[in-house]
């Protein structure tokens, strides 16, 4: 029966091609705009690591000024100090853990010759790779023992490996960074999470760094952060050591806590640590420790700009106008067909039958419009990606994925239904006799 309705609907659309093009085009515009805007927002709002985001927690401790809270929205520094990171990593409650920061160091293409390039390097611990599921092409991350020494080992991103070693397996080869030689232990596969979720303190749209180095090297090499560092008190001593013992916060601290019980235990541990530090005159503010799940942190840090949400609302209203338009046009079309319907009703077609047939026709318009709309939004996504590439040097941020395909399809079915119910109802109530008389 449905197939029969579909065939009739197709015939009806084919009969007046110009009119059909207008109604399908109208709904296509609506779906195109709605799915484009939703896709742009989705790029930032979606879970960047869906299978693990539930167990990844960001750690924050309020070591700020007694006079007033940290000026951000949450009122707590988004990062931790070096001394606190070092101390709280002595526990083994989290399955995996590590502080980290980014540095801007010289990587030498060929030791001794050629100009070096400044490169963003992620200073982190061995747990970084399994904790954030960094995918390896060759080799693996370093082990926890290498964090201690620290050992001169690094992991390369796929782009850096292409640049330095032409994409070959470079495990075991050496790379000079500043004035030291490092041994490559692993090379990552292309890794492009939608946002740089492990460090959303700034430039979240940047791709992950291309070199990863044990954080322990910061001391021997006197490496400073190139990210944000927030302080409220001058370091107690000048120079590099002063930064390390200061109240300045500049490290992102992450832990993996598999369940609620572990989370509670870890919170207790942090609470005890801060209480202990308070006795030594630190942490002058009311005690506050935060262990925040990734998605909540993204929300709090405003990773998705509110303008994008506003645009999604506007796009849905736009689609509503397109659907209303469709209602008007279909109503006109169906009622113009009244005599024919009268005849069909007189020949025995039931009201339900007539109603269903017209709803199917509306849905067909909705789905055809939806398909065309998806094509339109794909083209527009390409355009928007070009824009993002010019700004943030990555052309793959906005992706029309399965979720978005479902969203667009759902919207087009809904639009077809909402637009079609009234015209179909009107047309099925046409009394059989009136139009027969007129003929």
């Amino acid at each position: 029966m449905l197939l029969y309705h579909l065939r009739i609907a197709f015939k009806s659309l084919r009969r007046s091609l110009g009119f059909s093009a207008v109604v399908v085009g109208g709904i296509a515009l609506g779906i195109g705009v709605a799915s484009l805007f939703a896709t742009i927002r989705h790029a930032l709002a979606k879970d960047p690591i869906p299978h693990k985001s539930g167990v990844l927690y960001n750690v924050r401790l309020d070591n700020w000024d007694p006079a007033k809270p940290h000026p951000n929205k949450a009122g707590i520094p988004p990062q931790v100090t070096f001394r606190d990171m070092t101390e709280i990593m002595k526990t083994d409650i989290p399955v995996r853990q590590g502080g980290m920061f980014k540095a801007n160091l010289y990587v030498f293409p060929e030791p001794g010759s050629g100009r070096p390039t400044r490169t963003l390097i992620r200073m982190c611990f061995a747990d970084f790779f399994p904790m954030f599921d960094a995918p390896f092409q060759y080799g693996s991350g370093w082990d926890r023992k290498a964090d201690q020494g620290p050992e001169p080992v690094i992991v390369l991103g796929e782009e850096m490996n292409d640049k330095l070693f032409g994409g070959q397996n470079s495990v075991g080869k050496t790379v000079r960074i500043e004035d030291r030689e490092f041994r490559v232990v692993g090379v990552l596969k292309p890794w492009r999470p939608s946002i740089k979720f492990y460090d959303i303190t700034q430039q979240q749209l940047q791709a992950p760094e291309q070199v990863f180095m044990p954080l322990g090297w910061l001391r021997p090499m006197q490496i400073r952060t190139s990210g944000n560092s927030d302080g409220w008190k001058s370091p107690p001593q000048p120079g590099f050591e002063g930064v390390l013992v200061s109240e300045t916060t500049w490290l992102q601290m992450w832990v993996e806590l598999p369940d609620e019980a572990t989370r509670q235990r870890y919170l207790d541990f942090l609470g005890a640590y801060v209480t202990e530090q308070k006795k030594q005159g630190r942490f002058p503010r009311p005690q506050r420790v935060e262990v925040t799940p990734l998605m909540k942190l993204m929300d709090e840090q405003g990773v998705t700009p509110p303008e994008l949400t506003a645009m999604v609302v506007v796009s849905l209203l736009f689609l509503a106008v397109c659907a209303l338009n469709l209602t008007g046009l279909l109503l006109a079309k169906f009622l113009a067909r009244a005599p024919e319907i009268g005849v069909r009703r007189a020949l025995g077609a039931s009201r339900k039958h007539v109603f269903l047939q017209h709803v199917v026709e509306c849905e067909l318009v909705g789905v055809l419009g939806g398909a065309l709309g998806i094509l339109l939004s794909l083209a527009a996504v390409g355009f928007a990606n070009g824009w993002v590439k010019a700004l943030f040097n990555r052309g793959d941020l906005i992706q029309f994925d399965a979720t978005m395909a479902g969203y667009a399809l759902g919207l087009s079915l809904l639009a077809g239904l909402v637009a079609g119910v009234y015209p179909a109802w009107r047309v099925c109530r046409i009394p059989p006799a009136v139009h027969l008389k007129l003929q």
Partner: protein, 421 residues
């Protein structure tokens, strides 16, 4: 004009006219809010920084030669760079400062009037040299500029200060206070000192170190993460180091920014090639900063245009249908003596009433939507003149969309009335 037939016709076609009313109302609500957002984004983009943005070039020099780790070498290299830049054809002024406008940030600190126990007031803070104001293209409103001697002297003093631990007093603050001359913006001066004269006033930071105001600039706007866009303090110092390199701002002769930006890398590498250089014109930096806003306003503009088009098409469709359906009635009216322009008027008036109803509902809807956008997502606030423009636009669109079908209706022959279908 006879309103009777129009109103009666409308009453008989409630749904059809209701559709147009709703469409027009929604369209007005969306268009007004979109345009408000676009205007907000545009306003931010044309906001004047106070600097000679079009003619600014930013150069960042980051050394990799070990020699740069030594202070004397670093200072000499910096001097050589500045000399070379200032004598470069097309360059009007060059400075060594960490201040770089249109980044959405910079560096900031807290100060308050010296000796008071008032609230600490956050301000942007940057180093400057004797050429900084000239390079930015801002004039002094009051007081004097930094002198070369001041910059050299404070560079050495600050370096000493950073090298040794400071002796702390019983209050946990450094025992000996450090005093520097500073140039501040009028906005920050007013925040700290109200309407009092600014020259000679002193500020203190959280360490109790002092800053004496020797100069005031009127125009300064640099968007920042905190609402301190117009607050700034410049202190004399050189910005240089092995890790962070040395940043320069160059102000070129009008229209020379691109040419200078192209030639500057080679020129500076000829001075010293133990470093890498990054060059950007301020136009490029601004384009990056405003990229997201520009994307939003492009998308919003597109939606606005499409929306008005879709709604107009809808009106054309419904009116055409209305005309087709009433062909016989129109023929009859014509046969009974109605003139062509009466028929034309009928449809235009009918549409005008519907559109007016639509915009009336639309005005309410626009404010409701705006209220939602402003409270939930910090959208732009809606203003009456803009809404009035929207109303006019929709009236016009409604009229134009009715014109073709109405003209067609007016050409219906009276003879039609006598024919059967």
């Amino acid at each position: 004009m006879e309103m009777g037939p129009i109103l009666r016709a409308m009453r008989r076609n409630k749904v059809r006219f209701g559709l147009i009313v709703t469409e027009v109302a929604l369209t007005l609500a969306i268009v007004a809010n979109c345009v408000a957002m676009i205007r907000d984004a545009r306003a931010a983009m044309v906001r004047v920084s106070g600097f000679d943005d079009e003619n600014l070039v930013n150069v960042r020099s980051t050394p990799f030669e070990k020699a740069f780790k030594e202070d004397g070498y670093l200072d000499n290299a910096l001097d050589a760079d500045l000399r070379s830049l200032r004598s470069m054809p097309g360059v009007r002024a060059a400075t060594n400062t960490r201040f770089l406008p249109w980044q959405g940030g910079g560096s900031s600190t807290e100060m308050r009037p010296a000796g008071t126990k008032g609230e600490m007031l956050r301000t942007q803070i940057y180093n400057g040299d004797e050429g900084t104001l000239d390079a930015l293209g801002v004039g002094l409103a009051e007081g004097r500029n930094f002198t070369r001697e001041e910059v050299d002297r404070d560079t050495v003093r600050l370096r000493e200060l950073g090298r040794n631990a400071r002796e702390m007093g019983p209050d946990g603050l450094p025992r000996e206070k450090f005093l520097q001359e500073v140039i501040i913006t009028r906005a920050y001066g007013r925040l700290a000192f109200g309407d009092n004269p600014l020259l000679g006033q002193q500020l203190e930071d959280s360490d109790g170190d002092l800053y004496r105001v020797v100069g005031v600039i009127d125009h300064f706007y640099n968007p920042y993460g905190w609402p301190i866009h117009e607050y700034a303090v410049f202190f004399p110092n050189r910005a240089r180091g092995y890790e962070f390199g040395s940043p320069f701002l160059i102000r070129t002769e009008p229209g020379q920014a691109l040419a200078v930006a192209k030639a500057v890398e080679e020129r500076l590498l000829a001075v010293n090639n133990g470093r890498n250089l990054r060059v950007q014109t301020m136009d490029e930096i601004k384009a990056q900063y405003f990229g997201p806003q520009r994307l939003v306003s492009t998308l919003m503009s597109t939606v606005t245009v499409l929306l008005v088009l879709v709604t107009s098409l809808g009106i054309v469709g419904l009116t055409s249908f209305s005309v087709a359906e009433r062909t016989r009635q129109i023929g009859t009216r014509r046969a009974l003596g109605a003139r062509r322009r009466d028929v034309l008027q009928h449809f235009l008036a009918e549409n005008w009433i519907v559109t007016t109803l639509g915009v009336a509902v639309g005005v309410v809807l626009a404010f409701a939507l705006n209220f939602g956008l402003v409270t939930v997502v910090e959208g732009a606030k809606l203003r009456w003149p803009l809404l009035a423009a929207g109303v006019l636009l929709l009236w016009l669109a409604g009229l134009l969309s009715t014109l073709a079908p109405a003209l067609r209706a007016s050409r219906i022959s009276p003879a039609l009335a006598t024919r059967n279908v």
